[in-house]
Amino acid sequence: MKELSLNILDIVQNSIRAEAAEISIMINESLSGDLYQIIIKDNGRGIPDEILRNVTDPFVTTRTKRRMGLGLSLLKYHAELTGGAMEIISNVGKGTEVIVNFSFSHIDRQPLGDIAGILVILMASNQDINFIYTHKTEYGEYRFSSEETKEYLEVAALNEMNLLEEIGWMIGENLKEIKVSGFELRERNRVIL
C-alpha cells in the first residue's frame, strides 16, 4: 500500500467486522516533535487476550476463508520502517484502540493520500456507523463526524452520492486549510477513461 489512508481503510475494516457503532480516526501531525500519529479507536467487541498477543503475526487471523491477516502486520511494518511503533489496546466488550506512531520526517513514511475519499467510501457502505475524523496539525485542528453531519443537514442517511461527494470536498478544503501533509484531494468531476 502506497498511502497511509489505504492502511487506515484496511484497519477500519477490522472495526467494522467487530460491529462497532462508532469509529474514530485521529491523526496528529507534529513536525517539531517529529511525530506522525494515527489513532483508530472503535467501540466494537474487542480482541480477546490470547489473540491480541499474536495479532500482528501475519499468520494469525480470525477469518475462516484464509489463514493470513496482513492488515495490522503491514501497518506495523510501515511504522517500524520509519523508527516508529504500533500499540494495540483492547478490552473485550468495550472496544479497541490502535495507535501507530511514525517518524514525521523519515523518508519511508508514506504520504497520507486521499483520506477524504476513504471517508466517503466508508460512509457510503456503512450507513449505521458514526465515523469521527480528527486531524491536528501545527496550523489547527479539523473534526468531522458523520452523525453530526446527518443531524445538521436533517437527513436520515448519507446515502446520496452527490451529497457524499460534496462532503468529501468539504473535508478536503478543511484539510488544505490546516495544511495537512501529504494529502491529495481528488479533482472534481474527473473525466474517466
Binding site: 500500500m1 489505504l6 481503510l9 484496511d10 475494516q13 467486522r17 477469518r63 475462516t64 476463508k65 484464509r66 491477516g69 496482513l70 492488515g71 503491514l74 486521499d114 475519499g117 476513504i118 466517503v120 467510501i121 457510503a124 457502505s125 453530526e148 453531519t149 445538521y152 443537514l153 446515502n159 446520496e160 452520492m161 452527490n162 451529497l163 457524499l164 461527494e165 460534496e166 462532503i167 470536498w169 468539504m170 478544503e173 478543511n174 486549510e177 481528488r186 472534481r188 474517466i192 477513461l193
Partner: protein, 133 residues
C-alpha cells in the same frame, strides 16, 4: 462551483440543489436493485479497490442505475484483486476479477445494463467452500 468549507455551506448548497433535482428515494429492498460488492480486505485495497469502489459509487449514480454499492471482505481470490461481486435482481451473483476502471466501465455498460457477460469472471465456488468448513 463555489467552495464548500463548512456544514453551513453544505446545507445551503443542498437547499439550492433541491429545487432542480428530483430526490431519489433509494429502494429499501436491496433484492430489487443491482447489488455491487467490492472486496475490500488488505489484498483488495492494495491492488486498487478504493478507486474501483469510487468509480462504481459515482458512475452508477451518474448513469442512473438503481444500485447498492457496498464493501465486503476478502472472498479468497487474492490473486485476482480487485474483485467485485455483482448481483442483478433475481439472478445468481457473478464475481469479476482483475477489475480496473476500464473493466468496471464494461461491467456497468454490458453486464449491468444488458446482462451480457464480460471478461474476467471467476467461476464461483465459494458456496461450496462455505459448506466444507
Amino acid at each position: 462551483m463555489s467552495k464548500i468549507t463548512s456544514l453551513a455551506d453544505l446545507k445551503k448548497r443542498r437547499e439550492e440543489l433541491k429545487s432542480g433535482l428530483d430526490i431519489r428515494v433509494k429502494a429499501i429492498d436491496p433484492e430489487s436493485v443491482v447489488q455491487v460488492k467490492v472486496a475490500m480486505a488488505t489484498c483488495g485495497i492494495a491492488s486498487g479497490a478504493k478507486t474501483v469502489m469510487e468509480f462504481f459509487l459515482e458512475q452508477l449514480e451518474r448513469r442512473n442505475v438503481e444500485a447498492v454499492v457496498t464493501q465486503t471482505g476478502c472472498m479468497g481470490y487474492c490473486y485476482a484483486e480487485p474483485t467485485i461481486e455483482v448481483k442483478l435482481p433475481g439472478q445468481d451473483p457473478v464475481v469479476f476479477g482483475f477489475v480496473d476502471l476500464k473493466r468496471a466501465d464494461q461491467i456497468i455498460e454490458k453486464y449491468i445494463k444488458t446482462g451480457e457477460l464480460v471478461d474476467g469472471i471467476i467461476p464461483v465456488n465459494y458456496q461450496t467452500i462455505d459448506l466444507k468448513e
